[in-house]
Symmetry: C2
Subunit: 426 residues, 2 copies
Amino acid sequence: MAATMASLFLKTPTPYPSFPKTQKSLFTPSVNFPVPARKSSRTRAGTRISCGLIDPDGGKLVELFVEESQKDFKRGQALSLPSIRLSKIDLQWVHVLSEGWASPLKGFMRESEFLQTLHFNSLRLGDGSVVNMSVPIVLAVDDSQKQRIGSASSVALLDDRNNPIAILKDIEIYKHNKEERIARTWGTTAPGLPYVEETIKNAGNWLIGGDLEVIEPVKYYDGLDRFRLSPAELREEFTRRNADAVFAFQLRNPVHNGHALLMTDTRRRLLEMGYKNPVLLLHPLGGYTKADDVPLSWRMKQHEKVLEDGVLDPETTVVSIFPSPMHYAGPTEVQWHAKARINAGANFYIVGRDPAGMSHPLEKRDLYDADHGKKVLSMAPGLERLNILPFKVAAYDKTQSKMAFFDPSRAQDFLFISGTKVHCCG
Amino acid sequence: MAATMASLFLKTPTPYPSFPKTQKSLFTPSVNFPVPARKSSRTRAGTRISCGLIDPDGGKLVELFVEESQKDFKRGQALSLPSIRLSKIDLQWVHVLSEGWASPLKGFMRESEFLQTLHFNSLRLGDGSVVNMSVPIVLAVDDSQKQRIGSASSVALLDDRNNPIAILKDIEIYKHNKEERIARTWGTTAPGLPYVEETIKNAGNWLIGGDLEVIEPVKYYDGLDRFRLSPAELREEFTRRNADAVFAFQLRNPVHNGHALLMTDTRRRLLEMGYKNPVLLLHPLGGYTKADDVPLSWRMKQHEKVLEDGVLDPETTVVSIFPSPMHYAGPTEVQWHAKARINAGANFYIVGRDPAGMSHPLEKRDLYDADHGKKVLSMAPGLERLNILPFKVAAYDKTQSKMAFFDPSRAQDFLFISGTKVHCCG
């Protein structure tokens, strides 16, 4: 499987240095659909050329890895520091932060970032500009850990075998008001929210923020690490393919024909708009998901099958894994999903019905209004540069005996895949 | 009482047309303290001159009153429309909206404004600029009212004697997810939040937004209406007094000597900064408050006494009533309190410990962290133009036998007025 999928982002045309500049038109006038000004080619610090791709939030992709030559020194330093052993989900966040998905964040949030996230879903930077940041990326410690840290200014972060994987420096410890965090992130405090049960309910009463220095890149050794491309690697790949538009589609479920139709159709429409080489980032979420979601390994196998069958074109598709854990926080979380893809070079984001949604844990209804995700995304501060593509629902058209975009004027002609609605992405 | 207090804003020096332009310096470097660019004098549409005062949000103060010549016509029109009878608190919001405290809002929120308020505490305007808006200003209707409204595009709003006081036009009806509204506004869903119990718990399952045309200015006939100056009237008064800085202080409790010291000291510091005539807007909240707060009429009597005693200078003090109801939503609500004062011409806002806070309704603790209000205010989108003045806590200094600013290095010398802390404003 790995070889087949890897080929998806290796078999590419030779890149050439200039990009066509065409007048773009809108194809979904009903939603916020700004066409970003195209940047001219420029070379970033380092060897990567990001010509034409959307700029990362804050202007520069943050990578938090320690230089190779410094690793031994940092490992030694870590041994002398008070330490925090990370949970599996904490480690996923270290992964996310280390590669710059949350650029310009440089580590777990300090209180000022936490408060801005909770209240405004965005961060104001030193220059007055605003970036989106809708879910708290925080590390909890309990009373005894706090006491052990004392007045230290740095702590070591350990994996489950007590190996130091990072140093968190210039730390700030502040109160973890769990009730307020949950209420403002999920819009409910009902017991049974998966991420809350898994990571917050029994977490410590303090949060510790600071700047991360990552000694060991986070790996999972599950046969899928090669698909975990960082934002920098994805940007490199898009540049190598000479993409002039990148449209991202997040999945946490198997691809079905409705999705495939949507993705193919999106490329067609981007070509009609004047883009010469729109590339799809098919980007399944790889971090924590709730128990009844389809496991990542199954989903990757299924994605492979769909691609082998030629439903999607390998030349214009990059399959990669997004390392973030799921919050299931609906309109709040979909902003995070979109923002992270900007950092990976995507300037179009496909948003579906009820993204990052789930059933209310207590009541017989969906937790979020199915349209709020799309609406909130289109209004979110810091996402103005991103083109939001609302998902058109695809269903089986009995009159044509194939998948087609649902036409509400002849609803009776369509069969939906699972009951009465397609609830498929995010 | 009324005559005495009225004199506070009638006995003023003759205004003169030009304002001193001085370099302002910061006196609280620890918080966000931008010094706004001073606008040159200009005449607004209409006869009022707002030279020197901070611009209202959106650039123009919104007033939603029907022209005198149109009133009869509008009253007649209202009789032909489906109607909604307003609660006391709904009526207070009509008052707030009608005078432009919530500028640029033109009526009860439509869904797009509601969602932006809940998620971002701010609204993005057509020109891309952002104004603060942290509490939902919404009108709920129940299923039968919704059915009665049917496909009408306007409704009449009636007072408790069924007099039409306004028309809401170009209406939009959308779902009222009470749980989500409460969680995102208060950061808790604990039962017992006063505003929730009073107005949300038993409210309808729908919200109705639209543009307001106010036929009858809202009056209370409680002997205090003359103190209810609109933002336009306050701006006129500040201009007449030739204020070059307006500092607002909101109270929902009696003034004590600690407050008085703070207000006097603030003026002194503004003078030191180079302002020539800083004017205090002493602005008690006049809308709904919880049962155990001191009633407005008592507070106004008490304010009068403090002023008669000469503790505050009538020449540089304007006492007026802020018509908004209280949410007791802490850091979320204090933004509303500050934003509304921008619209009334204030460019400085004094913020205290735990503004708009209260005890947690179920747990033995304050609902909000005492410092979060000040912090959130200093970071809030749309409030960058406002200078936030953190309240310095005043207490009784036993060594001097008088009220003085609390010095934590000799905490034992101070007596606090109520137990261990001063919890006094907002």
